[in-house]
C-alpha cells in the first residue's frame, strides 16, 4: 500500500500529539499525585448498619490525617457538612444507600462515582482554608439538583 509523504508527516504529528497528552497524564499522576480510583470492597446498600457507614461522619486518625464516611441517599449527603483543619489529609469513603450518585468537590480534583454496592475512596489534602461546595453529579431523581453539601476547612491558629 502506497503512503504519501504528507500522510507520513501527519502520522508523526498525530503521534506527537498523543505523546504530549500522555506526558500530561503522567505528570498529573506522578508530580501531583492525581490518580483514578480503584475498588475498595463491596457493601450491601440495603443494610449499612453493620458497616463503617453505620455512623457517617469524620474521624481523626492522626495529627493531619482524617477519614470521613459519607453516605449518599436521595437527596442529600450524610453528613451534609464536614469540618477539618487546614492542612488535613482527608480520606473520603463514600457509598450509596439507594441509586447512583456522584461526588464532586468544587475547586479540587475530587470527582468520583458513587455506586450502590461499591465503596468509593477519594483522598485530598486541603491546604487552603475555606468552604468547599460538594455537589452530586450523577442524576438520581427529581431532587438531584438539591443534593449538595460542604467541606469546611478551618484556618489553624499558630500556638
Amino acid at each position: 500500500m502506497h503512503v504519501h509523504r504528507y500522510e507520513q508527516a501527519w502520522f508523526y504529528f498525530t503521534l506527537g500529539l498523543l505523546i504530549v497528552f500522555f506526558s500530561a497524564v503522567m505528570t498529573a499522576a506522578l508530580a501531583f499525585g492525581v490518580n483514578v480510583p480503584s475498588p475498595q470492597g463491596v457493601v450491601n446498600p440495603n443494610d449499612l448498619s453493620t458497616t463503617d457507614f453505620a455512623e457517617p461522619g469524620v474521624r481523626q486518625l492522626s495529627d493531619t490525617v482524617y477519614e470521613a464516611y459519607v453516605v449518599g441517599r436521595m437527596w442529600q449527603w450524610d453528613p451534609a457538612e464536614i469540618r477539618i483543619p487546614a492542612g488535613a489529609h482527608l480520606k473520603l469513603y463514600i457509598t450509596s444507600s439507594d441509586v447512583q450518585h456522584g461526588f464532586k468537590v468544587m475547586g479540587t480534583s475530587l470527582n468520583i462515582m458513587v455506586v450502590p454496592g461499591q465503596v468509593s475512596l477519594a483522598t485530598h489534602t486541603f491546604d487552603e482554608p475555606g468552604e468547599y461546595l460538594v455537589i452530586c453529579h450523577e442524576y438520581c431523581g427529581i431532587g438531584h439538583p438539591q443534593m449538595s453539601a460542604k467541606i469546611i476547612v478551618e484556618p489553624v491558629q499558630e500556638p
Binding site: 504519501h4 497524564v25 480510583p37 464532586k104 480534583s109 475530587l110 475512596l121 455537589i135 442524576y139
Partner: protein
C-alpha cells in the same frame, strides 16, 4: 443501474423517521440551554404540552430521540442506500431491510410510550437501579435488533455481489457501510447483555436485585463504540460524497479502508474511559483502556488528513492558488458541501476536547461536567447531525425526484447551526472547566457559582441559535415536498473517484474473518480478566417514580 423505487421508499421512510425523532428531541435542547442560565421555561412549555412533567422527562426524550433514534434511523436508510448504489444491484430479499424498519418503528413506539408517560425518566443511559417499566427496555431491544437486521441485509447483498464478482475489491461505499455495521454488531453485544440478562428480568420482577456496577460496565462496553456508530456514516459521506461535491477526488482509497478496519478492530476495548471515576474498576484496567483510546485517535486523525487533502484537491482544481487560496474557490453555495465542511470543522474542535476526556486522571476535572455535553454536541450533535442534514439535501432529489426548496436557505441553515453550536459549546466547555455539572436542572438547584454567569449565558444564547438552525432544517424538509419535479443527473450524484485507487489496497483488507477475529481477541483481553476477577454484587432493588 438505477435504484429501485422500493429502496428509495425505504430510504426516505428511514430518513423521515429520523427527522421526526429529531423534531421532537431537539425541542428540549434550547430549553435545557436556557435552564443552564437559570431561565426556567418549562412552565410555558407545559401550557402547550401538558404531559411534559419535568426537566428530566425532557432530557430523557432529548437523549434517546436525538442520540439513538435520529442517528440510527438516518444511518440505516443512508447506508442501505449507498451500499446498493455502490454495488449496482438490488437487495436479494427486500423484506429484510423493511423488517428492520418495522422493528425500529415498533421499538420507538414502545420506548416513546414509556417516556411520554413519565414512567422512564431515566435518561438515555438508564443506569440501574433507576428502573423503568419493561416496555421501555423492550422497545430499546427492538431498536437494537432493528440495527442487527440492517447488518444482515448488508451482509446478504454483499454476499450476492461477491458471488458475481469473485476476487474484486468491494466498492468503497459498500465496504465502509459493511465495516460500520460489523463494528456496531460486535459493540452492541454489551448493552444487549445488560438489558436482556440484567435489566429486563429485574424490571419484570422475575429477580429482585441487580448489580449497578456490572450494568455500568456492560453499558459502556457499547457506549463508546456507539460514538463510532454515530460517526462512521458521517465519515462515509466525507470520504465518498464530499470530495465529489467540491470537484475533487478522494485522496486515497486504501487509506480509507484501513481507517474503517481500524475502527472495527479497536472501537470496543476502550469502554473504561467512561468509567475512570468508577469505584468498581481497578486503576490498572482503566489505564489499559486509556492506552487503547489514545490509539483509537489515530484513524480519526487519518480521516482528517484525507478529507482535508481531498477538499484541497477540489479547491485547487477549481482554480484556487497559494497556501489558502483553495479555500475561497470551494463551492460555498452548495448546501451539501457546506454542511459537511462545517461539520468537519466542528469535529476538529470536538476531537481535541475528546483527547482531554480520554486522558485518564485529567478526566477527573471534566467528568460529568457540562464539558462533556459541550464536547458531544460538537461530535454527534454537529459533525454527525449537520452531515446528516447535508445528506438529506443530497438524498432528496434522488429519493423524491424533487429539488430542495432553496439551496440558499439550506446554506444559511447550516451556518446558523454552526455559529450556534460554536457559541453553545464554548459556553459548555468553559463552564465545565469551572465545575458546572451536567444533568442538573440549574433553575432548581440550591447552589450557584458567580463565575458560571458568563458561560451559562453563552450556552443559552448559542443553544437558542442552534435551535433556529434546526427549525430551518425542518422547514426545508417539509417545504421540499412541494417543489417542482426534476430529472436527476446521475453524474452529479456519483461517488467520488480516488487518486490512489482500490487495487492498491492489500487483499488482506477483504478478509473479514481476520479483522473480526482480531477484534474479538482484543475485547477478550480488555474485558476478560476483569470480568473473571470482578466481585459480583447483586444487591440493588429497582427505584422508579422518583422523578
Amino acid at each position: 443501474m438505477a435504484i429501485s423505487r422500493n429502496l428509495k421508499a425505504l430510504t426516505l421512510a428511514y430518513a423521515l423517521l429520523g427527522i421526526a425523532a429529531l423534531f421532537v428531541g431537539a425541542l428540549f435542547g434550547p430549553l435545557q440551554a436556557l435552564d443552564h442560565a437559570r431561565i426556567d421555561t418549562y412552565p410555558y412549555l407545559r401550557m402547550l404540552l401538558p404531559f411534559v412533567k419535568s426537566y428530566y422527562m425532557g432530557l430523557s426524550l432529548h437523549g434517546i430521540l436525538n442520540a439513538l433514534i435520529w442517528t440510527f434511523s438516518f444511518t440505516a436508510g443512508f447506508l442501505l442506500f449507498v451500499t446498493a448504489k455502490a454495488l449496482k444491484r438490488e437487495y436479494p430479499r427486500m423484506w429484510m431491510p423493511w423488517l428492520s424498519f418495522a422493528l425500529m418503528v415498533v421499538g420507538l413506539l414502545c420506548t416513546a410510550y414509556a417516556l411520554l408517560t413519565n414512567q422512564a425518566s431515566v435518561l438515555y443511559t438508564f443506569y440501574p437501579p433507576l428502573q423503568g417499566p419493561p416496555i421501555f427496555y423492550f422497545g430499546l431491544v427492538l431498536v437494537v435488533v432493528s440495527t442487527w437486521v440492517v447488518a444482515l441485509s448488508l451482509i446478504s447483498i454483499y454476499r450476492a455481489w461477491r458471488k458475481e464478482h469473485p476476487g474484486e475489491r468491494t466498492p468503497l461505499p459498500a465496504f465502509m457501510s459493511l465495516a460500520t455495521y460489523v463494528m456496531w454488531f460486535i459493540a452492541s453485544l454489551g448493552v444487549a447483555a445488560e438489558v436482556l440478562v440484567l435489566i429486563l428480568p429485574w424490571s419484570l420482577g422475575w429477580v429482585q436485585y441487580t448489580d449497578p456496577q456490572l450494568a455500568r460496565t456492560l453499558f459502556w462496553y457499547t457506549g463508546h463504540p456507539l460514538v463510532y456508530f454515530w460517526l462512521l456514516p458521517a465519515y462515509v459521506a466525507w470520504y465518498v460524497i464530499l470530495p465529489k461535491r467540491v470537484g475533487g477526488k478522494l485522496f486515497s482509497d486504501p487509506l480509507a479502508r484501513l481507517v474503517f478496519l481500524l475502527f472495527v478492530l479497536m472501537s470496543t476495548p476502550v469502554g473504561f474511559h467512561h468509567q475512570y471515576t468508577d469505584p468498581g474498576v481497578p486503576a490498572g484496567w482503566k489505564a489499559v483502556h486509556a492506552v487503547f483510546t489514545f490509539l483509537l485517535f489515530i484513524p480519526s486523525m487519518l480521516t482528517a488528513f484525507t478529507v482535508i487533502a481531498s477538499i484541497e484537491h477540489g479547491g485547487r482544481k477549481r482554480g484556487g492558488k497559494g497556501t489558502f487560496g483553495w479555500l475561497r474557490t470551494l463551492p460555498w453555495n452548495d448546501p451539501v458541501a457546506v454542511t459537511m465542511m462545517l461539520a468537519g470543522i466542528g469535529f476538529m474542535f470536538g476531537g481535541i476536547g475528546g483527547l482531554v476526556n480520554a486522558s485518564y486522571n485529567i478526566n477527573l476535572v471534566v467528568h460529568n461536567t457540562s464539558f462533556i455535553p459541550g464536547h458531544f454536541h460538537l461530535t454527534v450533535g454537529t459533525a454527525v447531525t449537520l452531515t446528516f442534514m447535508g445528506l438529506t439535501y443530497w438524498l432528496w432529489p434522488q429519493l423524491t425526484g424533487r429539488r430542495i426548496i432553496s439551496d440558499k436557505l439550506a446554506v444559511i441553515q447550516a451556518w446558523v447551526w454552526f455559529v450556534g453550536v460554536m457559541i453553545f459549546a464554548r459556553g459548555m466547555h468553559w463552564a465545565g472547566l469551572m465545575g458546572f455539572p451536567r444533568r442538573v436542572s440549574m433553575s432548581a438547584a440550591n447552589y450557584w457559582l458567580e463565575e458560571w454567569n458568563a458561560p451559562a449565558m453563552m450556552t443559552a444564547v448559542g443553544g437558542s441559535i442552534m435551535y433556529i438552525g434546526a427549525l430551518l432544517f425542518f422547514f426545508i424538509v417539509v417545504a421540499s415536498f412541494f417543489t417542482k419535479r426534476v430529472t436527476v443527473d446521475e453524474e452529479e450524484y456519483a461517488f467520488a473517484e480516488a487518486l490512489s485507487q482500490a487495487d492498491r489496497a492489500p487483499a488482506l483488507f477483504e478478509r473479514w474473518s481476520v479483522w473480526v477475529g482480531a477484534a474479538v481477541v482484543l475485547i477478550l483481553f480488555a474485558y476478560g480478566p476483569y470480568l473473571l476477577t470482578y466481585t459480583y454484587n447483586f444487591i440493588s432493588p429497582g427505584f422508579s417514580g422518583i422523578w
